[in-house]
């Protein structure tokens, strides 16, 4: 047995340190790239009143110190970014009517939509996947449909959904549903079809009822594969929600991004991107844990 490494030399800590280093490099590059340009040689001759007014109309107060008028919509400096983050996180749940809500509320709206569409998809995909996996005939019959529908970009469904469902909120949920169903369906079918013959044969010789076989033999055996499908689907659903909400508007983090894009406000857009990434990571982590819980060793 190898002697235990001191804690600072374990791989975990090393990886963590490396991550921090990478973060520091990224922030450093950001900082250097957004350094305010050296003040333009102060405009020698006095400006005419009209020139002064023009500058003011352009949002640049000639009297103000150079760094104040650093432009409202350029790429933010780290300090500006920090300010934006603080501002949003200090009151994430304010609600000023239908068009202006705190980022926490927006995320809840998005999560709600994703949850609804995703649950619907799981409710349909897992039983259907079972049926497909257990019967080669059904598998063959449905295969062409799955193959055609699977690669369609979820946003291409949007006009059709809006027309037929006649409700923007439901259309958003439908788009989540339609795009998160395929990985779950295919993985369930694949997992179910791949259950070891021996186990099924044992069940058959013991005269276990088909329902019990399904729940007590096939489900646990196929669970890791099904969970993989569910994890992929969740990733896709979270990807799609932002695009769908940018299209449909109203509420959600996608709408938040769109609204800030209108205002060409990059700090807010970057903040939203960070939040989307963090929430996506948390979701993925949850599924990873669940996946670990159902994994078994042959």
């Amino acid at each position: 047995m190898k002697p235990a490494l001191p804690w600072w030399r374990t791989e975990r800590v090393k990886a963590g340190l490396l991550s921090l280093l990478i973060l520091a490099v990224i922030l450093g590059v950001w900082h250097l790239a957004t350094l305010p340009k050296a003040a333009v040689a102060s405009s020698g001759p006095a400006l005419t009143p009209e020139q002064i007014e023009y500058l003011q109309l352009m949002g640049k107060d000639p009297g103000a110190p150079a760094d104040a008028g650093a432009g409202t919509s350029g790429f933010p400096t780290l300090a500006q970014m920090g300010h934006t983050v603080r501002e949003h996180l200090s009151q994430p749940f304010y609600d000023k009517g239908p068009n202006d809500k705190g980022v926490g509320l927006q995320l809840m709206h998005s999560l709600g939509r994703v949850g609804a569409g995703y649950l619907l998809a799981a409710l349909l995909a897992i039983p259907l996947g079972f049926a497909i996996g257990m019967s080669p005939l059904v598998y063959r019959a449905l295969d062409p449909f799955i193959q055609v529908l699977k690669p369609i970009s979820p946003l291409a469904w949007m006009p059709l959904a809006l027309y037929t469902i006649k409700d923007a909120a439901l259309s958003g949920i439908f788009v989540i549903f339609i795009c998160s169903i395929w990985p779950m369906l295919i993985n369930t079918a694949f997992g179910v079809a791949g259950v070891r013959r021996d186990w099924l044969n044992v069940a058959r010789t013991l005269e276990v009822s088909p329902w019990r076989t399904a729940f007590e033999v096939i489900l646990p055996a196929a669970a890791p594969t099904i969970l993989t499908g569910m994890r992929i689907s969740m990733g896709i659903a979270w990807l799609v929600i932002v695009a769908a909400e940018m299209l449909v508007g109203g509420t959600g983090i996608g709408y938040f991004v769109w609204n800030e894009w209108n205002n060409l406000s990059l700090p807010n857009v970057i903040f939203a991107i960070l939040m989307i990434g963090l929430v996506g990571m948390v979701l993925d982590n949850l599924f990873a844990r669940w996946q670990k819980a159902v994994t078994y060793v042959d």
Partner: protein, 466 residues
């Protein structure tokens, strides 16, 4: 040095005295107000007797003028029946005037909670500002104004009945009623939201190409196919000898995305709504080539409308809504209110734009992107009257560019969609000589438009798709 006192400035009085007691010159009073104070101040102004009388007169005068475009007819009518009868006759048939009368006696509302869609542009000013200023509430309505991502979505949400009423591009109710690009559903223009207020913005790199003849191969953006923007841009380039379908490319880009596209070099310019023209200047990515008022002085742009079904089912609610929006329009027309309005509609839940940009758009004192300060007080205006001749002009352009094929019954459509002359029918029933409708002629780029001869007008153009 403190910015409060500047004893060495010859142009500024040393002792600043504004009536409000704060330290600023009286003419800087509006600019110094906070947003809440602006709301308060505007609400106060809207409640003043002066304004109430003004807005009533304004609406009534505009409507009577709309009904009797020729003054001789108006005078003959008034002399024949007397003022009282005339008012009663008009009041019984014209939604707007009956609204004025109804202002005192509130009729029971069929529906109180309403959803109204809008696109975040200054065209929607009256509709938006009615919300923070409480004009809807005063009519007993609980309205939420909902920001929407694009015109196609506005159309779909109106057809789906998710919205009760909405901010439209004024040609949209025509196209939806005709079933162009959607299922046909009768829509009405209740009021025009704004007149003028658009511009052609070009990317900075084209600042030496001010002659449209040099624009061959340019890519332009407009907000929607059935928009005044599209029709005006086509008209403008065609007058300069370019075929808008062959010599330039016109694509549809939602207004809020125009500046980002211009910066990215995706498009060379756009004929778009404000504040995005001024915003492009503010961001130093573009300059204002031309205000659309220079193409057609007083042209309509956006409209406030709803479906025929909604009006039929909720006449009193519609009336209340109409009152609120007209009050707003009357207020927005007064130049003295513009600076405060900019403050009220600039925050996140409405336009989400820097106040400095909106102030320039609404007051008409603006930087043009080329180093000049221009002063055009009527750069944007909010004349609410839906002249039917405007609808006829839009239809002629739809016909000209092949959006409608075959014969168009211009007058019938215009009168069906642009609410005004339900009146005609009713006045006939009352035994009065009906006025001919609201068909004043106007000029577009110096060329006269005669609304009674739409087909001849379409045929008079060299570049067309018919």
């Amino acid at each position: 040095m403190s910015s409060y006192f500047d004893p060495y400035d010859a142009d500024r009085p040393l002792r600043l005295s504004c009536a409000c007691g704060q330290d600023h010159a009286p003419h800087e009073h509006d600019a110094s107000l906070s947003r809440d104070a602006a709301v308060h101040e505007l609400t106060r102004r809207s409640e003043s007797e002066d304004f109430t009388a003004y807005s009533r007169d304004f609406i009534e005068a505009s409507l009577v003028k709309a009904l009797f475009p020729q003054d001789a007819v108006r005078r003959r009518f008034l002399r024949a029946v007397g003022k009282g009868t005339a008012m009663a006759a008009i009041g019984s048939v014209l939604p707007t005037i009956s609204l004025q009368a109804m202002a005192e006696e509130a009729a029971p509302l069929e529906k109180k909670e309403l959803k109204i869609g809008f696109i975040p542009i200054t065209c929607a000013t009256p509709l938006i500002m009615a919300h923070p200023l409480g004009f809807y509430k005063k009519q007993g309505l609980d309205v939420s104004v909902v920001k929407t991502a694009g015109w196609a979505l506005i159309r779909d949400k109106m057809i789906n009945k998710e919205y009760d009423a909405t901010h439209f591009l004024s040609p949209m109710p025509l196209s939806i009623s005709m079933g162009l690009g959607s299922t046909a559903k009768p829509m009405h223009v209740a009021t025009i939201q704004n007149t003028n207020g658009q511009a052609i913005t070009l990317a900075m790199k084209h600042k030496d190409k001010r002659d449209p003849k040099d624009w061959k191969g340019f890519k332009f953006a407009v907000p929607f196919e059935y928009s005044m923007h599209n029709f005006l841009l086509r008209y403008y380039v065609a007058e300069h000898g370019l075929d808008p379908d062959k010599d330039i490319q016109i694509r549809v880009v939602p207004p809020p995305e125009m500046v980002a596209n211009l910066r990215a070099g995706n498009i060379d310019g756009y004929l778009g709504p404000d504040p995005f023209n001024q915003r492009a200047v503010f961001e130093e990515v573009g300059f204002i080539h031309l205000l659309t008022k220079e193409i057609w002085e007083g042209h309509p742009c956006c409209a406030f409308g709803t479906s025929a079904e909604f009006i039929a089912q909720n006449p009193n609610t519609f009336a209340a809504l109409y009152r609120a929006v007209l009050t707003s329009a009357a207020m927005a027309r007064q130049a003295k209110n513009r600076e405060l309005i900019a403050k009220v509609i600039s925050p996140k839940e409405y336009l989400n734009q820097p106040e400095a940009v909106l102030t320039q758009v609404l007051t008409g004192r603006f930087a043009d992107g080329l180093g000049n300060v221009r002063n055009v007080p009527d750069r944007a205006d909010f004349n609410p009257i839906p002249w039917q001749s405007m609808a006829v002009w839009m239809l002629t352009q739809m016909k000209r560019w092949g959006y409608v094929k075959g014969d168009v019954n211009y007058k019938q459509l215009a009168e069906k969609v642009f609410l005004l002359t339900e009146a005609k029918k009713h006045m006939k029933a009352l035994g009065e000589t009906a006025p001919e409708g609201a068909y004043p002629g106007f000029k577009v780029m110096g060329k006269a438009f005669d609304p009674s001869k739409p087909d001849a007008y379409v045929n008079s153009f060299a570049i067309k798709r018919t």
